[in-house]
């Protein structure tokens, strides 16, 4: 099901943990959708000096988090903001199609951590976006009959309000 790179990152995830007094924290996901990822960053001279994460989720979610943390470390904030879902899938040598939406949230969590840092710099509280349909991408959400997707539908509706 998973590529060798995914399994390797799943077995030996890099950068697991929290950063005390992190410069930015970003969280995405919802347990009903399957995965929750929290990223912690330490920034020095506009560069990601350290990146750590905690993840609740499937093998793909853990491997994605680990890969994103590795890709982001040492990059400038602008470079890190440009890490896309597609880049992560490519670096992992592919993910099963059904995991593309649900589990590939690592770069979103990283971007939120960076936005959190930038908001703090400007003396503002970073307003965490609600985990609406744009994040809680349940692939079955489009099905007309709500009973087909009982939980995803309610979660996505509730959070988009």
């Amino acid at each position: 099901m998973y590529s060798e790179i995914v399994m390797e990152h799943f077995k030996n995830p890099r950068n697991v943990g929290e950063i005390e007094n992190a410069d930015g924290i970003g969280e995405v996901g919802n347990p009903a959708c399957g995965d929750i990822m929290t990223f912690y960053i330490k920034v020095k001279n506009n560069v990601l000096e350290d990146v750590k994460f905690k993840t609740f989720g499937c093998g793909a979610a853990i491997a994605v988090s680990s890969m994103v943390s590795e890709m982001a470390k040492g990059k400038t904030l602008d470079e890190a903001m440009r890490i896309s879902h597609r880049d992560v899938i490519t670096a992992l040598d592919g993910l099963p199609k059904k995991k593309h939406h649900c589990s590939n949230l690592g770069s979103d969590a990283l971007h939120r951590a960076i936005e959190d840092y930038q908001a703090k710099l400007q003396g503002k509280m970073y307003e965490k976006p609600g985990d609406g349909p744009e994040v809680c991408e349940c692939p079955v959400r489009d099905i007309e009959d709500p009973e087909e997707a009982p939980y995803c539908a309610t979660v996505c509706e509730r959070s988009s309000k």
């Binding site: 799943f10 697991v16 009903a32 399957g34 993840t55 609740f56 989720g57």
Partner: protein, 394 residues
């Protein structure tokens, strides 16, 4: 590496005696039961012999046993066949919210064609209340379908009581017994069952063969039209080899049933007792007593099922889970949601289905291997720190 199969509900190995019985039907006994000549006759006799053995397993009249390709076909056949044949009498079907996909999705397909459906709720153990069945009956009800035991959570329904209610009102009663036939005692007379679905693999017969029992007098339309096989109720050349295998497996299952149950229950009960001792915040899903002898269904909080399952697989232990991440639809098990298990907890589902090849040593291994896996995943989980006041002890 030693392989431990704790996923018998998905697949069980076929018994060697069964394989031996089946093999000649690939080669020298290749006949088509519909042929009039002696080679065909040989195949027909083999099927009738298998029909008697399969019927004996559920205490049914052999003439009511119709062979199918699997449990899913049997379930579709029962529901669609009875609803179609009884259109003139009524259009209402009663079922539950915890059925297997092959009932749940067949019901949905019928609903789209205009059939009215009542889906009964279950309690926290996954049990249906027979009184709810009676309350749901209308003068348009033509079928009641309640599974015998749930494949995911192991709960055994009060089928005998529901059967009495159905009988009292003269409504045909179907039960999906794929998880129970050949596993625990099933008796269509004692349970007042009119239609019963079963499959061969759960009692160590081959995949690709099942049966539907239909009581004499129940009106049912065929799912497949064609030749006059199976009394005209299931067209298509018979899977002779598979049917022979199902018959042999049924014969052995009937003989060994009590011994198998006596072997499984202590292993099951050890897991149910020892897993929560080894790992904090593990919950049993399903009924503690009215439960399939080989079913252990638990939730492990703060971690997700697929990641546990993958690590267990690396240790040679094969299990399943009702987590959304496992299912092809990416949905949490509808059975657990119907029982009121919240979606986040259901994500940590582990489903172990034991079989005749399992031993105490297998249980030892699982109880030893799982805790460090859970610890590793909890240390990685953002939910663990947030929700739990107690850190896992080393």
């Amino acid at each position: 590496m030693r392989i431990i199969n704790f996923d018998h509900m998905a697949a069980s190995p076929v018994l060697p005696e069964v394989v031996e019985e089946m093999l000649p039907y690939l080669t020298e006994r290749y006949g088509n039961p519909s042929s009039i000549h002696s080679v065909g006759e040989q195949a027909e006799e083999a099927i009738n012999d298998a029909r008697e053995k399969t019927a004996a397993l559920i205490n049914a009249n052999p003439s009511g046993v119709i062979f199918t390709s699997c449990g899913t076909e049997s379930n579709n056949f029962a529901l669609k066949g009875v609803m179609l044949a009884n259109r003139a009498q009524g259009n209402h079907l009663i079922t539950t919210g915890v059925e297997h996909f092959s009932i749940m999705h067949a019901v949905k397909a019928l609903e789209k064609q205009g059939v009215e459906v009542t889906r009964l709720p279950v309690d926290k153990y996954g049990m249906v209340d027979p009184d709810d069945v009676e309350t749901a009956i209308t003068d348009r009800t033509v079928l009641i379908s309640v599974m015998h035991a749930n494949n995911e959570v192991g709960t055994i329904q009060p089928i005998g009581e529901i059967g009495k209610v159905a009988r009292k009102h003269g409504i045909p009663f179907h039960t999906d017994a794929v998880a129970t036939a050949g596993v625990i005692p099933v008796d269509v007379e004692a349970m007042s069952v009119d239609l019963l679905s079963m499959a061969a693999n759960p009692f160590y017969g081959p995949k690709g063969v099942g049966a539907l029992y239909v009581r004499k007098g129940v009106r049912i339309a065929p799912l497949l039209d064609g030749g006059i096989q199976e009394n005209g109720l299931r067209a298509g050349t018979e899977n002779v080899m598979g049917i022979v295998g199902m018959g042999k497996a049924a014969e052995i299952a009937l003989r060994e049933m009590q011994a198998r149950i006596d072997h499984l229950m202590p292993l099951r009960d050890r897991l149910i007792r020892e897993l929560p001792e080894a790992i904090e915040e593990v919950g049993l899903v399903g009924h503690p007593i009215r439960r399939l002898p080989g079913n252990v269904s638990v939730t492990v909080k703060y971690v997700e099922g697929e990641s546990m399952l993958l690590f267990m697989d690396m240790e040679g232990i094969k299990i399943a889970s009702g987590s959304a991440c496992i299912s092809r639809s990416l949905k949490v098990s509808h059975v657990m949601l119907a029982m009121g298990v919240d979606a986040a907890t259901a994500q940590g589902s582990l489903l172990m289905t034991l079989g005749r090849d399992n031993t105490d040593e297998d249980v030892d291994d699982v109880v030893r291997v799982l805790p460090p896996i859970v610890r590793k995943l909890r240390d990685m989980s953002p939910l663990y720190k947030k929700s739990s006041k107690v850190k896992a002890s080393a």
